[in-house]
């Protein structure tokens, strides 16, 4: 009696639909609001699944499965730019006014049903629909049928919206990705990179070299392509979008970070760019992050160890969480040790610096998330750290068996003495990023008790320096490169393995949000500097790992991993 069980859901749907006109009646503009407010409300419906009233948008899938659309927002499948996605074998078509009001051919998708003769849809029978109108679009959203009566894939929810709400949503869809983003035209992209004045000349060059190469290569390809055309090559539609001119501006930021916003605004007003490719600062990336969020400007993989840790940040892609990720790795590592209980005395000694603070915050936040009690944290100046009796007093007072020592290499010489004072043959945790090149000078006698965070690849990588997989190139091991910022290699990875793919797949959809959407749908990457980069809608820190290691003996010590890449 399955149909009996379906009746209640169907009734609910019918009742919800009672206020909505059936058939092809046009949604009337019932919300008497300014356009900007309608767009804001429409954006909330589209992205968060919340009605203008503030209630969740009701939705049904598979005919009778009622779902709450805050977990089923439009953007979760059609993505933020509204140009659709391809995932899990299911094709999600575009949903912007531009595309909806034109005819569309949808490629085959999982869930397609065979036609009357039992054949599956393929070239000759590929689903084609005429342009929507506001009326047929409202009908599609409510009942899941296109203008020809073709029924949508089951994964598309049906939304029983009333006229006023439907009008808000459709008005938003019409505005969504309707004008190309600044910095892109059918013939070229403008890019910038951002460098702050604390970056050394050497590092600056390490950053600019791959970027300038990339731009030169893109322009060279365009020249070749134009030559082909001269000799009679007739490009297909897709090929026409494959080659565009590129330019790169260097946005130099000088002086205190409080002034960066104004400097960025001036650069952007002078010549807007489509995206920021890489960049570098030794200071917090926060002001640049904020500017990019505000301008909705993609910023792809800057070299920074002090990124903004945020769950809602959208426009900046980071390699990882920088120092915070090292602190987090220690929290995850300690959390799973049987020898660590809520009674274990853990002391954090933090050098008073942005780096020390980022490491300590990363540990503290992660430790808290794991449901662990707060640990004692002492922040000391470099001068205080140099004072033996201050440290002795602290150890004597707190009697830690685990010491997290978030300092620079200045403390390496003091490690033997500190470790000897720890309760119960305890251990010290340090950051390889903060200790830098001197990490290898940790005295041999205590290496067994010093645990080091290491957020880079340890297993051999087969590939060239350029970060492109190439089985003919000898194995490189990137281990032991303590203190190496990997500016060129990481920037090359960014350009050739992720940004380029996104740019190549834009075709004529020149929207910044679409670039980020496409990049978020990438498959995982194995790259030179990290074990694995992984993506996903909303994921903005693509390398998730950080090893905990110890050092073997000698001047050129072996690295002894104590954890896997991602610790759970």
């Amino acid at each position: 009696m399955n149909w009996i069980k379906a009746v209640p859901a169907f009734l609910v749907y019918t009742l919800l639909m009672a206020s909505a006109p059936l058939g092809n009646a046009a949604p009337a503009p019932a919300h008497n609001l300014p356009k900007a407010e309608i767009i804001r409300l429409g954006e909330r419906m589209y992205r968060e699944g919340i009605l203008p009233s503030g209630a969740p948008m009701p939705a049904f899938i598979r005919g009778d499965v009622e779902v709450d659309s805050s977990a089923f927002s439009c953007s979760s499948c059609h993505l933020r730019a509204g140009l659709g996605s391809f995932e899990g074998g299911v094709v999600t078509p575009p949903t912007t006014g531009n595309k909806l009001y034109k005819p569309y051919r949808r490629p085959p998708s999982l869930g397609d049903t065979p036609d009357r003769t039992g054949r599956y849809i393929y070239a000759k029978t590929v689903v084609e629909r005429p342009p929507y109108t506001r009326e047929t679009l409202a009908n599609a959203l409510r009942f899941g049928t296109d203008p020809t009566g073709q029924i949508f894939n089951d994964v598309m929810p049906r939304y029983p919206l009333d006229d006023a709400d439907m009008d808000v949503l459709i008005t938003y869809l019409e505005a969504l990705s309707s004008t190309p983003s600044p910095g892109a035209t059918s013939t070229g992209f403008s890019f910038a990179t951002i460098i702050t004045d604390d970056v050394s000349q050497e590092d600056r060059q390490a950053l600019l070299e791959p970027l300038e190469n990339f731009v030169a290569q893109k322009n060279h390809q365009l020249d070749l392509y134009n030559d082909f055309i001269k000799f009679g090559y007739y490009p297909t539609i897709e090929m026409k979008h494959a080659f565009r001119k590129a330019s790169l501006d260097v946005w130099e930021l000088k002086g205190p970070p409080e002034t960066w916003h104004a400097q960025l605004a001036a650069y952007n007003a002078d010549k807007p760019v489509f995206a920021v490719l890489g960049g570098m600062s030794n200071r917090s990336w926060q002001p640049i992050h904020d500017f990019c969020e505000e301008q909705r400007l993609p910023c792809l993989f800057p070299i920074t160890d002090l990124p903004v840790i945020s769950e809602s940040g959208w426009y900046t892609y980071y390699f990882n969480k920088g120092y915070a990720q090292e602190g987090e790795a220690v929290a995850r590592y300690l959390n799973r040790l049987k020898t660590v209980s809520s009674h274990t005395a853990i002391l954090q000694i933090v050098q008073d610096s942005p780096v020390g603070k980022a490491l300590a915050d990363g540990f503290r936040n992660s430790w808290h998330e794991l449901g662990r009690p707060a640990v004692t944290t002492m922040t000391l100046s470099a001068h205080q750290l140099g004072n033996k009796s201050t440290l002795d007093k602290l150890i004597k007072k707190h009697k830690p068996s685990i010491l997290l020592l978030w300092t620079d290499a200045g403390m390496i010489a003091k490690l033997p003495q500190l470790v000897s004072k720890l309760a119960g043959h305890g251990n010290i945790f340090v950051s390889s990023g903060y200790l830098g090149k001197k990490t290898v000078t940790i005295p041999e006698s205590i290496r067994g008790r010093i645990y080091i965070t290491y957020p880079y690849r340890l297993t051999p990588y087969v590939g060239s320096q350029e970060g492109v997989r190439d089985a003919n190139v000898p194995i490189l091991s990137s281990a032991k490169e303590f203190g190496q910022r990997r500016i060129t290699s990481r920037t090359t990875t960014m350009l050739k393995q992720t940004a380029l793919r996104g740019l190549n797949l834009l075709y004529d959809n020149l929207y910044r949000d679409h670039l980020l959407d496409i990049m978020s749908m990438q498959m995982d990457l194995v790259v030179r500097d990290y074990e694995r980069l992984s993506f996903g809608p909303g994921q903005r820190y693509v390398s998730k790992g950080c090893y905990i290691i110890r050092l073997g003996s000698g001047d050129n010590p072996e690295i002894l991993p104590q954890s896997e890449w991602v610790i759970h």
Partner: protein, 220 residues
């Protein structure tokens, strides 16, 4: 053998479309993997379903035997869970593979889980549901907890993560190895406590179909 030839033609046509689709939609390096896996999926659908079957059911059902590997995973509360133990017991358990930031099919699979949970709860029955991540890098207990909250999951629905090696072992044991999460497919598996078999359901099920499949296992 016209039937055989017919299948061949169909598959190569699908291949052509997918090639152009993939060029537009996906990344160059991943192209062979995706095309192969998609082609395989399409072939599986084309070969496995006659028109008559396809009309009656939108999913593919089979009964399988799996050997559950001895791995320890981590649930949404950060607790260690031995997979073999959580799948044991005298009531059926339903397993699927999802990930926390998935766009298209995971929300649908999870809505199916939630509806099954709600429908059975209304009859006083607690169903045991286990979602296993295919994105162990990103799916920490925190991410999984937030995911379950977003779907208003009730107790009895666990979301598990673990090391990539362990997750790979689990996927392989269920004949559901997905090398990259972007090329996954909708799959539900129901374990029968009586004879230890698994009902494997490939495709998206309506809540009625899902409930009927569950009850057929529970009532065996």
């Amino acid at each position: 053998m016209p039937g055989f030839l017919g299948v061949h033609l169909r598959v190569s046509a699908v291949n052509t479309i997918f090639e152009s689709r993939i060029h537009r939609c996906l990344m160059k390096n991943s192209f062979p993997v995706i095309v192969t896996s998609l082609l395989f999926m399409i072939m599986a659908i084309v070969l496995a379903s006659s028109p008559v079957q396809a009309e009656s059911k939108s999913y593919k059902r089979s009964v399988e035997k799996y050997t559950i590997p001895n791995v320890v995973l981590v649930n949404q509360d950060g607790k260690k869970v031995r997979l073999q133990s959580i799948l044991k017991g005298d009531t059926p358990v339903v397993v699927d593979f999802i990930y926390g930031t998935c766009t298209t099919i995971c929300p649908v699979l999870s809505a199916g889980f939630l509806n099954l949970q709600n429908k059975l709860a209304a009859t006083g029955h607690t169903v045991r549901l286990v979602s296993i991540t295919i994105d162990p890098e990103n799916d920490s207990p925190k991410v999984m907890n937030a995911y379950l909250k977003r779907f208003r999951a009730k107790p009895g629905w666990d979301f598990l993560t673990g090391s990539r090696a362990d997750i790979d072992t689990v996927m392989k044991a269920f004949n559901a190895y997905i090398p990259d999460k972007m090329s996954h497919y909708p799959l539900n598996m129901i374990h029968s406590p009586k004879d230890g078999t698994w009902v494997r359901l490939f495709g998206l099920l309506s809540s009625r179909e899902f409930l009927a499949e569950y009850q057929s296992v529970a009532g065996k």
